[in-house]
């Protein structure tokens, strides 16, 4: 159902030596990362390690000061000009973002639209999909996230878990080739976390390419193809979940895991 359009056989995400500064503070200090199609990569690490910032660089919600990020083979946010990189036009960046779904910690549903309207908003107004078609697809997505009966509800009539599932459906409605999850369950009451993780897990099994920032180690262990531990703006260690969780090589990884597990 999530027919991710993969333009070439190369990696979905390729980040090369990404640097990011907020003023004098360097928050990303040379990140290299490759995500292959249908892979789920989970980023873990202490707060302030730069994992959320890095995720936001992938769809250019944050500018970068060095390095390159490719999604689906396309350089994100910048174009080559005269031997250097200049920021791309707003229209091009928007077109790139349209193919990268993002789910936020605080859901960020549009409060003045119903669940259904939230989902069809971008397909109708960005992709110019006919409304009837977008609505049919939205109903399909609502069914997929288990909220068919909530189509006409406004976001604040829904629980946090329901809102986040609508937000996932909203992102999926654009048929993204990649999904980014930014601590998607951190703002939820504990009893609502499971329903959102279940939807994410289902997506991963269907072959969606995903980059997930999370504190849910259970999810990382069960669903991730690769787990990456970040600290102080760098990738410290990466590997399959079993290796990272059961046999971490780096001291900092061990220290972090012993604190949270």
């Amino acid at each position: 159902m999530t027919n991710a359009v993969i333009p070439n056989q190369g990696p979905i995400v390729q980040a090369q030596d990404v640097h990011k500064r907020f003023g004098p503070t360097e928050v990303l200090r040379g990140i290299d990362l490759t995500v292959n199609p249908a892979q789920t990569v989970v980023l873990i690490g202490p707060s302030g390690s730069g994992k959320t910032t890095f995720l936001r660089c992938i769809n250019h919600l944050e500018k970068i000061q060095g390095g390159r990020i490719y999604v689906g083979g396309q350089l994100i946010g910048y174009r080559e000009e005269g031997g250097g990189l200049v920021e791309d036009t707003e229209r091009n960046i928007a077109a790139q973002r349209a193919r990268i779904g993002m789910v936020f910690q605080r859901f960020n549903l549009f409060p003045h639209m119903t669940a259904l309207e939230n989902i069809i908003e971008a397909p109708v107004h960005v992709k110019k999909t006919p409304k009837a078609e977008a609505t049919a697809r939205a109903k399909e997505l609502l069914r997929k996230v288990g909220l068919s009966d909530k189509a006409d509800r406004y976001p604040n009539q829904l629980s946090g878990g329901q809102q986040q599932r609508i937000a996932i459906a909203r992102a999926l409605a654009m048929d993204p080739m990649l999904m980014l999850f930014d601590e998607a369950t951190s703002a939820l009451d504990p009893e609502l976390v499971g329903e959102v993780l279940k939807v994410m897990e289902q997506l991963a099994h269907e072959g969606m390419s995903m980059v997930v920032v999370t504190h849910e180690m259970g999810f990382a262990r069960e669903v991730a193809d690769r787990v990456i531990f970040m600290d102080e703006g760098k990738l410290v260690e990466e590997g399959p979940p079993a290796q990272i969780f059961d046999n971490p090589q780096q001291e900092r990884t061990q220290a972090f895991l012993s604190r949270i597990l």
Binding site: L61, R91, R97, A98, R106, H125, V126
Partner: protein, 278 residues
Amino acid sequence: MDSRVTRRRLWTLVALVVVAAVLVWVYLRLTEAGFDWGFIPAHFFDQTLIQGAQMTIFLSVVAQFFGILLGLIAALMKISKNPTLVAISGFYIWLFRGTPLLVQLIVFATGLYQIGIHLNLITAALLALSINEGAYMAEIVRGGIQSIDPGQMEAAKSLGMTYGQGMRRVVLPQAAKVILPPTGNEFNNMLKSSSLASVISVGELLQHAGDLNHLYFKTLETFAIVSCYYLAMTTVVTWGQSWMENRLGERKALEQQPGFWGRVRGNILSTRSALDHR
């Protein structure tokens, strides 16, 4: 009967008696001083006042409309990332909020005349009122936009919308709810401050009242009538405003394709239901 209720009724009665006494005293005092009570009904619907009121409404509606438009443009400029636009808008707001409307009216009407720009007086009044109002609306609109969670624009962008689309479809419909009440207030003010246009001889309500006064020399009587006119206009605006706010909040099935106002209504409707759930 509950003694508290009895006591409250007693106080209401006392208050009524006091108010009535004051009114009677004013009436007697005015009559004694030669106030012409008959003048008011005789001249209430005087043609010159009606025409003046029409001009006042025309000036206010047109100037408020362009004021909102200018305010929206200036607000968007002020929150943009382009330093030139920020500076231009900042200067505009600083200049027109920092000088009296009366001065602006005179400059537009006679100051510009001096340097060879001959504006018709009504045009000059409309320009001054609109541009002045725009400076105030700019701050109201900016406040409205900035009250919306930045996550809304981020979500819009992450779905492939441009800044403009996100503004139009996501941020402004939500900001409108915040902007509406102070805008009603601004329009109420506009009805009254348009009276300053009388200084540049625009035939609005106050100017025509002056004419009537010169004809009969019944100042208090004439301006009592004029006050009723202004009160009637501002009262209607207040009603209109609360009607609009209520109507926007009505529980109605959303239209098939909600337009801008449909989304604004959805916005308010959703707030209402949140309150209901509380």
